[in-house]
Amino acid sequence: MSALLQAKNVARTYKLGSGASLRAVDGISLELARGETLALVGESGCGKSTLGRLLMGFDRPDTGEILFDGQDLAKRSSHAQRVLRSQLQMVFQDSASAFNPRWTIGSALAEPFRIHKRPYSRQSLEDLLERVGLSGAFFDRYPGALSGGQRQRLNIARAIALSPRLIVADEPVSALDVSVQAQIVNLLRQLQADLDLACLFISHDLAVVRQISDRIAVMYLGAIVEEGETLSLLASPAHPYTRALVDAVPQPGKPLGAPLQGDVPSPLSPPNGCRFHTRCPVAQPRCSTERPDLEERQGQRRVACHFPLM
C-alpha cells in the first residue's frame, strides 16, 4: 500500500499555566492510502481534533514525524510547504465562522486560487458551486444568505477548489439536522469517488462514520485503542471501549445496554496502565499497572488491550 499520509509515533504535549502539562496526543501511528477514508472517533478531549491539526501541519508534533506523500512537511522550505499545502485541505464543523460575512461567495471561492497563484475564471468558480449542489446564481451573494447545509456545501467547495488529495474534515455534519446531514454525507462520498480524494473524517457519530469511512481508528485519552475496517470493527469490536461506544449509540429497535460508568478521566492526569481501566467492565489487576500496546490481531485489526473481546 502506498500511503498518502503517514504518522509515525506522533506526540504533542501542551504546557499549561500552572506547570501542568497536557499530553493531548500520545504516540500515535497511522496511515492513510490514496482515496481512502479513515474516521477518527472518540469522546470530547480524546485528542482527535489535535491529531487532525497536527496532520494538517497547523501545529508541530513534539516527537514523531508526519509524512505527506513521503515528505515531511516540517522539514521542507516554506515554498515547498506552500505547494504541498494546496493538496491538504480542511473542513470545519462551524461553517458560519469559516467565511468572512462581508465577502461575496464568489470572492471567498476565489481566495485559494489567489493565494496559490492559480488561474481561475468566474465560469470555473460557478462550476465549482454547481459541483457541490449549489446554484451558480449564489456567486454575487453573501454567506449570510445561505442555510446551514448550503454553507457547509460552500465550505466543501472551497476545500476542493485546488483539487487537493487529502481533506481533513472535523465534525463536518455534527451541527446539521439529520435530513441535511444525509445530503452532505452523500455529497462527500460522491466527491471522494469522483476526485480520488482521501479523507480523514473526525467525528463522534458512529452512524455517520459507518456510512462514510473505510476504516475507523478509535481514540481514548490521546491514544488509539482500536483500529480496523469499518463494518467489521463496528460489528465485532475487540476493545471494551469500542464496545461501549457502539452500545451507547441510541438506535430504534435496540434496548439501551447498561451504560459505561463514570466520566472520561482528566487528560491532565491520565490513569496509569491502560488508560481505560478505570471505566472498563472487564478490567483485571494487570490493566492498572501495565499499558497495553497497539498490536495487530486477525483481519488487519489493531487493538490496545490485554483482554480483547475477539
Binding site: 454525507v185 457502539v246 441510541p250 430504534p252 466520566d263
Partner: protein, 315 residues
C-alpha cells in the same frame, strides 16, 4: 393516576410579529407516567412548545388550549405562573452551565428554589439537596453540593440540573435536548436516569432532534414539522410503521448501524417552508413525494387508536 392526561395542548398557535407563524396547530397530550418525545428538526417549534407550557414563549399572539391537570394555563396571571414553574412543572436545558449561577455553589442554588416553593427550613432543604443529588447518581453528594458549577463535568452538571428541576417534586419535567451536548457514553447514563424518573417520579416531555434518543427513552412520541404536530403515537408503533411521509423520510435519512451500507442515503428534497412560502394546506406538501390534490387542504389527524398522523394517505 397513571394513564390520566396530565398536560393537554390543543391546536396551539403562536404568531410572532417579525418571525411570522411559529406554531401552527400543535396538539399533544402527556399522560401521567409517560415519557413523551417531542421530535423535529431545527425550527420545527419543538422547544417553543415546551416553553409555552411554562408560559415562557416569546411575545406574540398565542391561541389554543393549554390544560394542566384540569387547570387552564392560558388564564394564568404572573403570580400563578411563579407558583407553577419549578413547582408543578420544571424544565431542563441543553446547557446546564447557563442554568446555574457560576459564582454560587450548586447546593445553595437548589436550596433557594426549594425554599421558594415549600416551607422547609434551610437545614431540611440542604438535606433534601444531598439526597436528591444522591438519587441522581452524583458520587459523594455532600461534597458535590459544595462545589461550583464549573468544577463539575458536563454529565455531573446535567445530573445536578435534573436534581434542581426535581427538587420540588414537579408532576411534569420538560427536558429540552438534555443530552445533545454530552458524549455518547454519558448520554446513555442520562437517558437511563430520565427513564427512571419517568417510571417513578414525574411525567417527562423530552424534546430532541434524535430519533435514536426517542426510541430508547420515550414511551410515546409527537413528530413536529414546521410548527405542526404531523404524527403522534406509541414509540414502537411510530418508529416501526411511520404513517406520515415526513416521519418516514426522517427515519430513512439516519445512516443504519447494521445491515448493508446504502450507496446513498435517502434525502428529503427542498427545505422547510419560510413564513412567506408557508402553504395553507399540508405543510409538508411542497417536499412530499406522494403529493395529491387533496393536500391543498390542511389534513386533520387521522388513524386508528393512539397512532395518528395528519396525512390524507392515512385511511
Amino acid at each position: 393516576m397513571a394513564g390520566d392526561a396530565l398536560l393537554t395542548v390543543g391546536e396551539l398557535r403562536l404568531r410572532h410579529r417579525q418571525a411570522g407563524v411559529l406554531l401552527d396547530g400543535v396538539s399533544l397530550t402527556v399522560k401521567r407516567g409517560q415519557i413523551l418525545g417531542v421530535v423535529g428538526e431545527s425550527g420545527s417549534g419543538k422547544s417553543l412548545t415546551g416553553l409555552s407550557v411554562l408560559g415562557l414563549q416569546p411575545e406574540g399572539s398565542l391561541s389554543g388550549t393549554l390544560a394542566f391537570d384540569g387547570e387552564d394555563l392560558t388564564r394564568f396571571t404572573p403570580r400563578d405562573w411563579r407558583r407553577f414553574r419549578g413547582h408543578r412543572a420544571a424544565m431542563i436545558f441543553q446547557d446546564p452551565m447557563t442554568a446555574f449561577l457560576p459564582v454560587r455553589r450548586i447546593g445553595p442554588q437548589i436550596v433557594e428554589q426549594i425554599r421558594l416553593h415549600t416551607k422547609l427550613s434551610r437545614q431540611a432543604a440542604s438535606e433534601r439537596v444531598v439526597s436528591l443529588l444522591a438519587r441522581m447518581g452524583v458520587p459523594s453528594p455532600e461534597q458535590t453540593a459544595q462545589r461550583f458549577p464549573h468544577e463539575l463535568s458536563g454529565g455531573l452538571r446535567q445530573r445536578a440540573m435534573i436534581a434542581m428541576a426535581l427538587s420540588c417534586d414537579p408532576e411534569l419535567l420538560i427536558a429540552d435536548e438534555p443530552t445533545t451536548a454530552l458524549d455518547v457514553t454519558v448520554q446513555a447514563q442520562i437517558l437511563t436516569l430520565l427513564k427512571e424518573i419517568g417510571a417513578r417520579e414525574a411525567s417527562v416531555m423530552l424534546i430532541t432532534h434524535d430519533m435514536g434518543v426517542v426510541a430508547q427513552s420515550c414511551t410515546d412520541v409527537a413528530v413536529l414539522y414546521a410548527g405542526v404536530v404531523i404524527e403522534t403515537g406509541p414509540v414502537a408503533s411510530v418508529l416501526q410503521t411511520p404513517l406520515h411521509p415526513y416521519t418516514q423520510a426522517l427515519l430513512t435519512a439516519i445512516p443504519p448501524m447494521d445491515g448493508p451500507r446504502p450507496e446513498r442515503l435517502p434525502v428529503i428534497e427542498g427545505v422547510p417552508p419560510s413564513p412567506e412560502t408557508r402553504p395553507s394546506g399540508c405543510v409538508f406538501a411542497p417536499r412530499c413525494p406522494q403529493i395529491s390534490p387533496e393536500c391543498a387542504v390542511r389534513p386533520a389527524m387521522r388513524g386508528e387508536g393512539a397512532h395518528r398522523a395528519a396525512c390524507v394517505l392515512v385511511a
